[in-house]
Amino acid sequence: MKRKLGGLPLAGSLLLGLAALGATPAQAEGTLKICYMSQPVIDANVAMMEKWANANGVEFEKNPMSYTVYLPKMSQMLSNGGTDCDIFWHNDDWGQLWKQWVEPTSDVAGMDKIRKGPMRAFPNDEGQPTAVPLAHTVGTFFYRTDLVDEKDVPKNWAEIVAVGHKLQEEGKTKWGYVGGMTHQNTWFSIWWSLWTNGCDIFNPKFERDNAVLDKSGWVPTLTEDCHRETIEFWWDNLHKDKISPEAMVSYGRNEANAIFMAGESAFTFADSTFWGEFNNPEKSKIAGKVGMALWPMGPRLNNNVAWDTIWAWGIPKALDPKQKELAKKALGAMLLDHEGQIAQWKGTGGPPPNTDLWPELASQDPVFAKLKEVVFDVKDQVLSAYYFPNWPAVQKAYADISTEALSGKREDIPAVLERGMKTLHDAAVQQIAK
């Protein structure tokens, strides 16, 4: 039989052979492996560390991943004590999710030069920072400078509606405001306005300490007036005042940006890093006609708020000390690389983490000056995410509730929000791990 079946196992052995190829090679001395999501700002930052590695004879291995799988993949590695990455991209959304597996970073050179506020997303249980920032990502209100004078830029919700409506009637623009609304895009419409109305997602408002939130029982604010008003504001925008397209409930950031860039909207809200994109004449019809402004305020709050969060790097706790040392050196070199950080800002719009550079940049670069004014210099900073393992589930649940409320009748909004109380609470407290 052996001879007769000679040809058969070929395919099988080929499979096994390929399986052997798939195994990861052993870690070499003096090598830094970096895992990240490929994105212009992050790429620019990686380049700084690569430059340092090349200068210091350290081998530099880049391992870019896609955003879709980044979180599960990295979570798996960290929780299993894996050492596939010496440095990995860290995000405030999962700053608390990974806290027990990441190395404290207070001893990284240059950590004294950074903004402390956004670091609130990254402490471990001992209160030490566990991340090294690579750029600020800040929510920004954009307006069309060719349609709206700087002095006429809306200062509150009512003015958004009024100005938008007026421009629509004059035929100058198709829409007043567009912004993302779907899951992972709620920031660009509902949430920023939620915060400008002195509201938040859970009680106590603006609390991010999980212990406190646990003790308070993760009670959503959905049924409170501040929250209902926010939803009603957007309902009116979509269905009554029609300054926003009805389909906006199905828009992600990209759909919204496309409409803005097609010159069909007066206002939008996006990450500041899109400033470059909006002003790129190759892609945008409104290049050179885009300005940044303070967030228009809701009826319940008078003082301006802004969010200032960071993208950061982390180091796995499971690494051996020598690797940790090497990783920290690379990160320190990045933080202190003035030239590189300025290049990062100029090339990609990713604001430098090293605040030493800010005054100089602000004096040279009017865009940075404006960004500093409307975001960094705003006194009341909100944190744009919660920091606990179930946060992704909460985000999704919230988007589903708000979409339902905004797609139905106006008078049904309270009922939908009432129903959402349990869904959102359950999403927050569901037991998927310990």
């Binding site: 039989m1 007769k4 079946l5 058969l8 196992p9 395919a11 099988g12 499979l15 879709t68 799988v69 979180l71 599960p72 979570s75 798996q76 960290l78 929780s79 999710l97 990974w98 779907t182 899951h183 397209p245 009805e246 389909a247 906006m248 409930v249 199905s250 759909e255 496309a258 409409i259 097609a262 069909e264 393992p389 179930n390 992704p392 589930a393 999704k396 988007a399 589903d400 509730i401 708000s402 979409t403 339902e404 797609s407 999403a427 569901q430 037991q431 998927i432 791990a433 310990k434």
Partner: protein, 316 residues
């Protein structure tokens, strides 16, 4: 003769008792059969059966993707999924609605295209080529196309409707419009498949019944309902069963067109599982949903098969 004498060397085997002789040839045959399916069995076991069992095991445990705690929790996840109103009242109805709508529409449209192609006309080859394209292009490209075509601001469909002076619906922002786009995409993708299989079926039908019907002065519609369809029943039945089972696992189109939105209103089974596992990172609950879905489709598949057998006389 000398050239084939080598075969004689086995002469002494004649002495083996009959029972053992039998078992030897049958043994060889059995080994041969096993050898033939072995590679397939191994691949199926390693990459399908084993994962399914791991998934089933995980569905009884507390097992998140970032922290495989693996504490045994029994039926907790099943209880959750089976009492989740989204799963029961949105996801399952959507899944079956998509199945019914997509299969019946693509069957009807496919039949029409097949009849058209069967008639024969000058540009037939061109039409057949064009009809084949969606099948080759696959769901990712076509969903991307449709999403763009049905874009409420820039899409060609709305531009056309506007030009006609009709309303311009926010296609992907309304549950039923969005569902309609999903069904349309699925029909666009699968009509060619039905058309080609039905065309092959039409071509293989004997001519005599049609000639007899012509002599009996039957009209086209009567010929279609009384001769063509009954004779195509086996083909139709098999197509419907296969397509319906495949339709249950639809993922690509929904994921790329609506992602299950707005507000989970177009979520189907595969999206639900994916969301639980990769969005909520709850691998165990995703697995439990996967097991439930598998059982449902197996029962539904069997029922469908029986039903079609009964009504259609499938003689396969």
């Amino acid at each position: 003769m000398a050239t084939i004498a080598g075969d004689r060397q086995t002469a002494s085997r004649g002495a083996i008792p009959a029972t053992r002789r039998r078992s030897r040839l049958m043994g060889e045959r059995l080994y041969f059969q096993i050898g033939l399916i072995l590679p397939s069995v191994l691949v199926l076991l390693l990459f399908q059966v084993v994962p399914i069992f791991i998934g089933m095991d995980a569905s009884f445990r507390r097992w998140s993707l970032y922290d495989p705690d693996k504490t045994w929790v029994g039926l907790e996840h099943y209880r959750y999924v089976l009492s989740d109103t989204n799963f029961l009242f949105t996801v399952l109805p959507n899944t079956f609605l998509l199945m019914v709508a997509s299969v019946s529409l693509s069957l009807a449209l496919g039949m029409a295209v097949a009849l058209l192609l069967h008639r024969g006309f000058a540009a037939q080859r061109l039409v057949q080529t064009v009809v084949l394209l969606p099948l080759m292009i696959g769901p990712v490209i076509s969903s991307t196309m449709m999403r763009w075509t049905f874009n409420d601001q820039f899409g060609v469909v709305n531009a056309f409707l506007g030009w006609l002076g009709l309303g311009q619906p926010a296609w992907l922002a309304d549950r039923w419009y969005a569902f309609g786009v999903i069904v349309f995409t699925d029909v666009w993708l699968w009509t060619p498949w039905f058309a080609l299989l039905l065309l092959a079926g039409l071509k293989s039908l004997p001519k005599e019944p049609f000639e007899a019907a012509a002599l009996d002065a039957a009209g086209r519609w009567r010929v279609f309902t009384h001769i063509t369809v009954p004779m195509l029943r086996p083909v139709i039945g098999v197509c419907v069963v296969i397509r319906a089972i495949d339709c249950f696992r639809t993922f690509d189109q929904v994921w790329l067109l609506t992602g299950g939105g707005p507000a989970r209103s177009t979520e189907v089974f595969s999206i639900y599982v994916y969301m639980e596992a990769f969005q909520n990172l709850n691998f165990a609950r995703g697995s439990a949903a996967a097991v439930i879905g598998t059982l449902i489709i197996m029962v539904a598949g069997l029922a469908l098969y029986a039903l079609i057998n009964r009504f259609m006389d499938v003689s396969r």
